[in-house]
């Protein structure tokens, strides 16, 4: 049995042509490549810090 009220409630308004600029500004364009690069850079930074700490301890 279809719950029509629920089906109608799920509908969302269409985007109006007048609101395109706001819609574009609100879109998050981050893709998997960006996320991966972020992860790689974070991982590299963490590794670099660890190496630096080891070097300092060796120097001491």
């Amino acid at each position: 049995m279809i719950n029509f009220q629920e089906e109608i409630r799920r509908f969302k308004p269409s985007l109006d042509v007048d609101n395109i600029e706001d819609a574009i500004a609100g879109i998050d364009l981050t893709d998997m490549t960006d996320l991966m690069m972020q992860l790689v850079e974070n991982a590299a930074d963490t590794a670099g810090k660890k190496n630096a700490d080891t070097d300092k301890q060796n120097e001491l």
């Binding site: 109608i8 509908f11 042509v17 609101n19 574009i24």
Partner: protein, 450 residues
């Protein structure tokens, strides 16, 4: 130390390159799947794959442009524009999205029309979500009529129709969606419900069962070909002639009478109609003729009144002029003319108040001063020895006041002095008979010598 850092950067770059290559491959794969689905008119499925493709590589312009096209095809113009604008930002050169944007902008009023329909849809949705289903149905009906590919509006309309129990209309809306997007999940599901409600699901299932339940041939089955009966030429001719005769008989017996009857009925109806029209025309003619007679009578009446008025006006003018002339001649000393004109006045035509007033004034002048003046003129002429002229004046005076005893006496005396005794005596007798109390009665008796 420097060596280690350089090595680490190199490792990062290598990792980045490897990841990039893998992600691009995944993105491309999703794009290909999306394109495949789009070519099969499965727009919803295609959109899902294309969105995934863009999640892996936002620079995949083909995927973004195709996603825009799918939005556009489903009636979501603004969403399509968003994708193409982003596409142009990410790849400004050599991008087909540029031509799509140009194409839309070139269509006069396309954007304003799309915007107007979206606003109306959003309003109808809001009304539907707040219990105004009937109004929403009317509004969505008009929106989908103007933009049949507006999938979201068609879907909402279908749901509202189903809620109202109008499954046939809902089915029509869903068919429109499935024509655009063959595997639209909601539309497909709702269409199944509509088919169940209308009984079409049973019919389809029966057809499918029949199609797949043909019994396969077994080894013992024999296929007997249909044999053609050989007819000889005579039989064929007889069949043809019989057919023609039966056809003609059928025509004359069955068809022709009904055709004639229909023709006669139509003819009779036409005659009745024409008679009615003729009768109407005659009635109209009679009415117009009567109106014309009435108008003519009115015209004649008015014309006669106008003539009478003109005549009356002419008589009035003439009388007015004559009265003026009398006063004018009298004032100028032309008493004879004044008296003559006074005697010629037609009193029957003087009926209006102003003219009666003027006549009264003329009467007052002529019967008193005028009369006396003429009488004195006569006496002056007699005294001057001009008896003929004196007689004329006396007679003029008498014409003004025919029974004045003084004027009568003077005229009689003048006639007596001219030895016109008989004429004089007649006048003396009239004075005595008509004015016995007048002083001129005794004087007349004395003068006549009774």
């Amino acid at each position: 130390m420097l060596l280690i850092q350089r090595e680490r950067k190199t490792l990062i770059q290598i990792n980045r390159m490897n990841y990039n290559t893998d992600l691009i491959k995944i993105s491309k794969a999703y794009y290909n799947r999306g394109l495949e689905r789009a070519l099969l008119s499965d727009l919803s499925g295609a959109a899902e794959y294309l969105k995934k493709s863009l999640i892996y590589d936002k620079y995949r312009t083909d995927a973004r442009n195709l996603l825009g096209l799918i939005f556009y095809e489903m009636g979501e113009t603004a969403d399509a524009l968003v994708q193409w604008v982003i596409s142009m930002n990410l790849q400004p050169e050599d991008n087909i999205a540029d031509s799509y944007l140009d194409e839309i902008q070139r269509k006069a009023g396309a954007l304003s029309e799309a915007s107007s329909l979206v606003k109306r849809f959003n309003q109808a949705l809001n009304i539907a979500q707040n219990g105004g289903e009937d109004f929403a149905i009317v509004e969505l009906g008009d929106i989908t009529k103007r933009k049949p590919n507006y999938v979201k509006a068609q879907l909402l309309l279908a749901i509202l129709y189903m809620q109202a129990g109008e499954h046939i209309k809902a089915g029509r809306a869903l068919m429109q969606i499935l024509d655009i997007d063959k595997n639209h999940p909601q539309a497909t599901f709702l269409m199944e419900e509509v088919k169940k409600a209308t009984g079409k699901a049973e019919v389809e299932r029966a057809k499918l069962e029949n199609a797949y339940k043909h019994r396969e041939l077994e080894d013992d089955d024999v296929i007997i070909p249909k044999t053609k009966t050989q007819s000889n030429l005579d039989r064929v001719v007889i069949y043809i002639v019989s057919g023609v005769i039966i056809g003609l008989l059928s025509f004359y017996i069955l068809i022709l009478p009904s055709v004639r009857r229909a023709y006669n009925t139509a003819l009779n109806e036409s005659i009745i109609s024409n008679s009615q029209e003729l009768s109407d025309v005659n009635a109209s003619y009679s009415k117009l003729s009567s109106e014309y007679s009435e108008l003519e009578k009115n015209y004649n009446d008015v014309s006669q009144k106008l003539d009478a008025y003109e005549k009356q006006n002419l008589a009035f003018t003439s009388a007015y002029e004559k009265l003026n002339k009398i006063i004018s001649d009298y004032s100028a000393g032309n008493y004879e003319a004044a008296a003559s004109e006074y005697l010629e006045i037609d009193r029957s035509v003087i009926t209006s108040e102003p003219l009666l007033g003027q006549l009264k004034e003329v009467d007052r002048v002529m019967l008193n001063d005028g009369f006396k003046t003429v009488l004195e003129l006569g006496t002056a002429q007699w005294n001057g020895g001009n008896k003929e002229q004196a007689e004329h004046y006396y007679r003029v005076a008498l014409s003004i006041k025919a029974d004045d005893p003084e004027a009568m006496f003077l005229l009689a005396r003048l006639l007596q002095s001219q030895d016109r005794t008989t004429e004089a005596n007649e006048i003396f007798d009239r004075i005595v008979g008509e004015h016995p109390d007048s002083p001129y009665a005794q004087r007349s008796i004395d003068a006549r010598g009774y």
